[in-house]
Amino acid sequence: MKKRTAKWLTTILLSATMILGLTACNSKSEPTTGETTAESKAEYNLPSNETEAAAVDKANVKEIMNIAVSQEGANYDVHKTTTLVARQLFSGTVWEKLVTLNGNAEVVPELCSSWEMSEDATTFTFNLREGVLFHDGTELKADDVVASMNRWIEAFSTAKDLVGNGRFEKVDDYTVKIVCDSAALTLVDMMAGAAQPAIVTTKSICENEDENGYLKEYIGTGPYKFVEWVQGQYITFEKFDDYVPYYLEGTTEEIMDGWAGYKHAYTKQLKFWYVPEAATRVAGLQTGQYDVILSLDSENSKIVEGSTGLEVASEQAGTIALVFNKSEESIAQDINIRHAVNAVANSDDLMMSAFGDYYDLGSCYMDESNAFWLTDAGSEYYNIKDEAKAKEYLETAGYNGETFKILAPTLNHYDNIALVLKAELEAIGMTVEVETVDWATFTTLREDKTVFDLYITSFASVPVPSLKAYYGPEYPGWTVDDTMAEKLAAFNQSTTKEQAYEAWVALQQYSWEYLPCINAGHYGTGYGYSEAVSGLSFGNGVYFWDAYIPQ
Amino acid sequence: MSEKIIELQNLSTSFRTERGLLKAIDGVSFDVHKGEILGVVGESGCGKSVTSQTILRLYDEKYTAVYEGKVLLEGEDILQIPYKKMQDIRGRRISMVFQDALSSLNPVFTVGYQIREAIRIHQKVSKKQANKMAIEMLSLVGIPAPERRVKQYPHELSGGMRQRVMIAISLACKPRLLIADEPTTALDVTIQAQIMDLIVQLNQQLDMGVILITHDLGVVAETCSRVVVMYLGQIVEEANVEDIFDNPKHPYTLGLIQSIPRLEGDRNKELYTIKGTVPLLSQIPTGCRFAKRCPYAKERCNTQMPDLIPVSETQKVRCFRYLEGGGIRYA
């Protein structure tokens, strides 16, 4: 009797706590599985950036804006690190580049006033803007640009491969140039938009590296200067009073287009708080402790949308790739095995298992944000969901129950994708093993040719197709194929954009035939913000150079 | 006759158990006078200790025990007074010495602390003064170098010393009545004698009443003036100490006396034992409680309960055989 009372009380209290907890994580919402339409399309909502700056009353703007981010970089030396948070916080805000991307992902000048490319696409000359000041008060000169750009090339092997032995050199104090070994049409795209941004700092800062070769100080030319990084807590930026803004080419209006244009820095201080727990970020946004939060997944964005006074913005952020092991150690070396997997893979199920609503389908390897490169070449192979065909491929391959090993990191629920794929492969009679490990373990394991037949990873949006790593023979998965190399070379040696586009279409078509990997679909990300916040710049991230909160 | 310190009238104590109320003592009546030592004897489980703890109301009255009858302390029924008031009686007017000093002294406090505490609960004295009194008490109970001992912990003392400490604690407030519950059981024989001598000596010195609970009739013979024999929660015989030994009226009393080893007896003869064992409280017989083990038991004994009947000025017995004129004799 007594025991029963105790149990009863326990049940009530426990369930009360659960309910409390669940409302904390909030309504895990309606189950989304089941309905799989042929071409699902995430409903992203990316507010267009406000272009008129007229009405901002600078005297009545809140001095501090608090932003919660989910990641902390190991360092913020963006020449060397590809960590997303590093470029989202620092690019365009603290650091600026010679060239950057506008809203149409076109390359436009930033620290240069103009640039010229030679007809053979080997020589690039940049004319620097005069009077631009670094945060340490010195003026931007050719020596700084040469030191910074060559440091970037050394750190970024893709760029290094592209330019060969060519390096930036000083022509005069306000002119630099680089002569590449062969055509390097996409060099400026890389400089403008690569995951390792080609930012410009001073010559002395470049030379002042720590033991591991990282920058000791973060000195740029942007509208905000770096003040403090308290590890595990926050990063503070402060408005740089001597910032020299620039106008978009051909205008004299104080407007922005994409990452380019006139930045106002209305808010005196930007504080980026490191808040790893998603529910905590949402709670902080609801209480007003944070004005903007990053890395909203589709579930949490519904919570934010449902809260009064809060808004959500969302956009495509990259692609999910199922990369095959094409070495002789793997059964996936057989192209028929690869096609069998591709034929049965249901992209909707795969993407939904990890991203909820924040995904859309599409056979193109490039993301929407880089509209120029979009093509539907090879789409006849995409998301065909044909079990009979898959079995045919298996038969052709002579598949006989060999174990197919899937390797997946636990990061961002990629392990869910692996489990869904396993079920799909088992449906066509394959024997499948799934290994899920943490991200750091994953990056080492995938270098071992005997460990996997397929692994799951993602690629953040890149400005040019050649940055897709899986075409390389060194990248885990090991694409060693003459035709592929030929088509990649044809792309890299293009001297005009039109030519490059043609080459890219052919490359993507061949990719779908050869299948170095399966492009499962595009995933999205969300940003939550208080409706009091104005002037946020969205597009390949959210940026704060014009953001303000009226008082 | 000198004044009565305590008088038990028809005292019963029942315990709440899962099988209902169990009566551990049933209709116990006796009294103790000033300066007197009353022996309460019986086998384990006869209710001696329950009686003594009932007098101090040590059982939890809300959940565990139910008392009936009266305990008159100098005329006042202490079963009726508010429970909180018992705290003033315990240790000040009635004290108790337990059988195992090692487990009854708190191991984590010094001897001095435990005596001082007993003093300061009941008397408004300073710590310093209490310490002085504690030292006096220790020398009173015959502990050498008491100044040093007050700073020691129980485990640092010998068994006899600990028992003396406990007596010192009990007597710290010069109580009217001392209940000594088998005070010597845990000690070896020479120490036993010393402790008993001490109790007798202090009894005279302080002029208090003593209830000596024991199963050792030898001790009773040497120290007590009157004896109450208990069996299974009831008094079966009460008499002056001489009458108990010379003229026992109850077969159980006789059995107990015969169980004492004697120096002058035949050494080869097996020692007398009372046959059978004490029944459980839950299996109390309806008739005479001793009937099952009694060599003289008759039909009536199994069905009817005899009353405790005075047979002389000083002696009472609960037995049909005696009342019907039958005698009992040594086996």
Binding site: Q231, T280, T444 | L56
Partner: protein, 314 residues
Amino acid sequence: MKKYIIKRILAVIPILLVVSVVIFSLVHLTPGDPAVAILGSDATQEDILALREAMGLNDPIPVQYVNWIVDVFHGDLGNSVVSNAPVASVLKGHFLPTINLAAFAMIISLFVSLPLGMVAARKRGKLTDQIVSVIALCGISVPSFLLGLGLMMLFSVKFRIFPVSGYAPWSAGAIEHIRSLTLPAIALGFMYAALMMRMTRASMLEVLGSDYIKMAKAKGVKEGALIGIHAFKNALVSILTVIGQSIIGALSGAAVVETVFGIPGLGSLIVSSIGRRDYEVIQGIVLLIAFINVFINLITDIAYSFVDPRIRVQ
């Protein structure tokens, strides 16, 4: 006593050595390395390989160990592989919030658990006891993560009493400091409170049935002193063991709570360091935790002898 303490501290050295070998092997034999963490997920394979070589991660593990342990004996814990900051200063920075959090959590749980445990023992089997048992059961079975989020929803989001997340050091003012730590301390302390409550109740029950409590009662000791002094001091030995273990747990195991509330303590440091395979920092933390463990145990042992004179340290 002094001799004993010195002996015990010296005895720590071999323990720490063994711990260091084990942790070093574990950390270095686990797949994954800091190069990827530093370069980010989109880095090219060539860059990763080059950095690995440059960082000396390709040296044989025994060589790396000897290099490291020699430095440790010279008082140099090395530099973070990832951020290049001295490990000692990284630890120092993260240790303070953890100590404050753990201390706060312990204070809360002691104030809750000891009285409740004592009351439960006194009212054994009654409603009060059952309520306390249920609270204790919840404390043990509700994950601190869930409790933390629940508290946050209630007291931060709904009532706006405490901040959602973030740590305010003492220098930001006592009130801010306490406000920033209150919810995490409750979330962290609840489990330990439950453990202590159970232990207090169990050992009080054992003690309350003992002869010396009966004796004290017969002396006329009042109810309060009986439980609060006589029984409690005896029960304290077993309670101290749990307190010691709880302090160790709170100091080294606050990772989840620290992550939820954004407290930059040891727990969140170890989580992020493992994610980045920041070898030197992981090793430093583990050594520190091993040391804390031994130290707290030593303090507990000494405390025993103050509580119970029968226990002598030697």
